[in-house]
């Protein structure tokens, strides 16, 4: 394509202020993985506190909670909880799934030289970076970090300390998501290689497209809500403060007439589509890996595409199923129950199509495939346990119990996160030219799989028994919880095993990076376009020559062909 930039780029031009989508994707990937690790660290401290409440936290307790002699106070627990949720969702999983995988793979899978707007792409990463810095800096302010939960419900969030930094950071993160997802949409629509028609797009591209639309349309109302909450905190307005409010024994001196429910509506209008932002890229990654490792076409490709498009549309009209307990009325509840039941249909279509894809395949059980396979039952458990929460009658009992925590963690942790691990193992050879070590990969997978279930399965038991979430002592002071709190220790040990299980993964990356590069650009024998580029793809142009596409994304085991796969680019 273009050979006209022979000038040498400096280190900073090449790796820091780069506008190359591959470098930006890796920047996103490293930053978000570090945030995931940090979010896990917060959780580990919380889990220790839940299992052994009000004891001195070993090793780091003296340093973290110096004022209380190493014991975690309730307000510390609240801060850790709020920041764990915020960091995992907004700084960890979404930037990894959309920022890293989307940025790196979308241009490659559609045969494009780069994203449509390379500078905007870099701006999106650096806005995310600033948002992350502000969020981290909030730990070191005199007020401390936010402690009103990741949902930041007013009126509490208006009075609690640390919230201002949280809101400012969210404005940056939302802006970054908007820039990034806008870029992905334009890239997919405009930069598809000649011959790559809509139904020849790999399924992963479809999931990125729907995800980007969700981000573009769902995030702005939260930005609006964040601005309103900032006004409440800084300018003394009372958008979310009702009249006659008493806080800490004193009447609140605000005009009043506001509504805490308004925040909940604006917040969940984002936060429900956000759930699908977390899960859709994961579904896309799993789809790619299943087709590749069963050596079969993805079953029901078109119904999958229709299902996720419908899912994306429906996700905008289910938000109030998070609010059954607020007394918004029978009619509203009935409507949102109905839409919630309807939205479970496309999810089931996806899972069913994936299971049927396995049928009759000669499955290769490599590490990416193991993670992708375990995604199916884990996401299944997460999804099915969501149904009782979507019906108001059972939700009123289960709301705000550990059952809810178990439900969404099954979707996001062993669900999405496993899919993202699968993606890292699968595309690592493309990114670096080296395959991650299989044995260490399995050493990563099996303990992680067991530990994940060890952490989250008992949450269903605790939740069904009525144990409330967000209690800093894990429910020790509640008599009705006394016969299920013993699970806390089991879950905490599982969490620490999960932490240890990540060591082989981290070591694997560094050890593999020090090995010799392989010349094989398609080690998994895959059909999609990114595997026809060199590994790693050429800076700024990706492919050696213009890409032309001749066939669909999953032509595996085509009869009358010697090789068992037919690359999209081969005539």
């Amino acid at each position: 394509m273009s050979d006209n930039h022979h000038h040498e780029e400096t280190f900073f031009q090449k790796y820091i202020w780069s506008v190359d989508h591959k470098v930006i994707g890796i920047q996103y990937g490293i930053t978000s993985l570090l945030f995931l690790l940090f979010g896990f660290g917060l959780m580990a401290v919380m889990r220790y506190q839940l299992a052994y409440p009000e004891t001195v936290i070993p090793i780091i307790g003296q340093w973290l909670f110096a004022e209380s002699g190493g014991i975690m106070l309730p307000e510390n627990y609240n801060t850790f909880g709020a920041m764990h949720g915020t960091i995992m969702i907004f700084l960890g999983v979404v930037p990894l799934a959309v920022g890293a995988f989307g940025n790196y793979l979308v241009p490659l899978q559609i045969g494009a030289p780069d994203m449509a707007f390379p500078k905007l792409n870099a701006a999106s990463y650096w806005t995310y970076f600033v948002g992350g810095v502000v969020m981290m800096a909030s730990f070191f302010t005199p007020e401390g970090a936010a402690r009103s939960g990741w949902t930041s419900y007013p009126p509490l969030s208006i009075f609690e300390s640390g919230q201002t930094m949280w809101l400012l950071s969210m404005v940056f993160l939302i802006t970054s998501s908007l820039l990034g997802s806008m870029n992905i949409i334009v890239t997919i629509v405009q930069l598809r290689a000649p011959g790559l028609t809509w139904f020849k797009l790999p399924f992963f591209i479809w999931t990125q497209l729907v995800t980007s639309f969700l981000l573009v349309l769902a995030f702005p109302p939260l930005e609006a809500a964040a601005v309103l909450q900032l006004m409440d905190r800084l300018a003394g307005t009372s958008f979310f403060l009702p009249s006659g409010l008493v806080y800490a024994g004193e009447a609140v001196a605000a005009y009043g007439n506001g509504s805490p429910l308004l925040w909940q509506h604006l917040f969940w209008f984002l936060a429900h589509p956000e759930v699908y932002v977390l899960i859709l890229p994961a579904i896309g990654i799993v789809g790619e890996i299943l087709a590749n490792n069963t050596r079969k076409p993805l079953w029901g490709y078109k119904s999958l595409v229709y299902a996720i498009s419908f899912l994306g549309f429906m996700s905008f009209i289910v938000w109030a199923h998070h609010m059954f307990l607020t007394g918004m009325g029978q009619t509203m509840s009935a409507f949102f129950q109905l839409t919630t039941m309807i939205i479970s249909i496309p999810s089931v279509v996806v899972l069913t199509a994936f299971f049927i894809s396995l049928w009759g395949g000669s499955i290769r059980f490599n590490t990416p495939m193991l993670f992708a396979l375990s995604f199916l039952p884990m996401f299944g458990i997460g999804g099915l346990t969501g149904l009782p929460l979507g019906v108001a009658a059972s939700d009123i009992y289960l709301h705000d119990t550990y059952y809810v925590i178990g439900h969404f963690h099954y979707v996001v942790a062993p669900g999405t996160l496993f899919a993202l691990f699968a993606g890292i193992y699968y595309w690592f050879p493309k990114i670096t030219g080296r395959k991650l070590h299989e044995g260490m990969g399995k050493l990563h997978f099996f303990p992680s799989f067991l530990a994940m279930n060890g952490i989250f399965m008992p949450m269903f038991i605790q939740g069904l028994a009525g144990l409330s979430r967000r209690m800093y002592d894990g429910g020790q002071q509640y008599a009705h919880a006394s016969d299920i709190t013993h699970w806390n220790e089991f879950m905490t040990i599982s969490a620490f095993i999960l932490g240890l299980a990540q060591i082989p993964f981290i070591l694997n990356i560094f050890i593999t990076l020090s090995t010799k590069k392989s010349e094989d650009r398609n080690p998994w024998k895959s059909t999609t376009i990114e595997w026809s580029a060199p590994s790693p793809p050429l800076p700024h142009v990706n492919f050696e020559s213009a890409v032309e596409v001749h066939r669909g994304p999953y032509e595996y085991s085509v009869p009358e062909r010697e090789e068992d796969f037919y690359p999209q680019t081969s005539p």
């Binding site: 394509m1 030289p113 390379p118 405009q190 939260l222 009372s238 506001g258």
Partner: protein, 200 residues
């Protein structure tokens, strides 16, 4: 990097160039941003005690806002004229019309400044009432959008534009078209703000 296709020319099967599609998607997200705030306005107005919004709404300066509406509509018209001039290869006219657009925007900001300070002099702040809160939030965010647009307009009026005109006139026309779409949107937001805040 320079090999990215469809920066200015249209992709045959979509009939769009990259920046035009990009700005439309950006505007869709802007609709959702202001949509969220407009719904908040409706929600708060319905929940407010009888007459509360009317009482506070009467304190706003309708003639000033009407003048501002005229300024913005004029600026939208001249924005289109500046783009049309470029298409007709009349660079001097382009500069004149874009100059008028910039002056209108600056005029809008001046009027807004006097409106805001007038309120502050009378001791009216966002915290004074729910109406004033949503008034300052909505118009403040709108003013930020005007300022953002103004920065781009001024950039496209400076010598950078002369340079671009010589090197790549199509690119300049494309930039002006895209900026114009944004500018019309900001204008349109005001067309909604004016009645719901000043007149209703």
């Amino acid at each position: 990097m320079s090999s990215i296709p469809y920066i200015v020319e249209e992709r045959p099967d979509t009939g769009l160039n990259n920046s035009k599609l990009g700005v439309w998607i950006f505007l869709a997200s802007e609709v959702m941003l202001f949509g969220g705030l407009f719904s908040a306005y409706v929600f708060l107005r319905l929940a407010a005690p009888e007459g509360d919004f009317d009482y506070w709404g009467a304190k706003l300066n309708v003639p000033m806002a009407t003048f501002n509406t005229m300024l913005l509509i004029t600026s939208s018209v001249t924005m289109v004229m500046s783009w049309a001039s470029l298409k007709l290869k009349q660079f001097d006219k382009y500069k004149m019309y874009l100059g008028i657009t910039i002056l209108c925007a600056l005029g809008f900001l001046c009027v807004k400044y006097f409106e805001y300070t007038g309120k502050f002099h009378h001791g009216i702040y966002p915290s004074s009432s729910t109406f004033m809160g949503i008034y300052f939030t909505l118009t403040g965010l709108h003013v930020l959008h005007i300022i953002g647009g103004l920065v781009v307009l001024i950039y496209l009026w400076t010598r950078q534009a002369d340079k671009m005109w010589e090197e790549n006139p199509d690119l300049l026309a494309n930039r002006i078209e895209v900026t114009g779409l944004y500018w019309h949107f900001v204008d349109l937001v005001w067309i909604f703000l004016f009645p719901i805040l000043y007149l209703l």
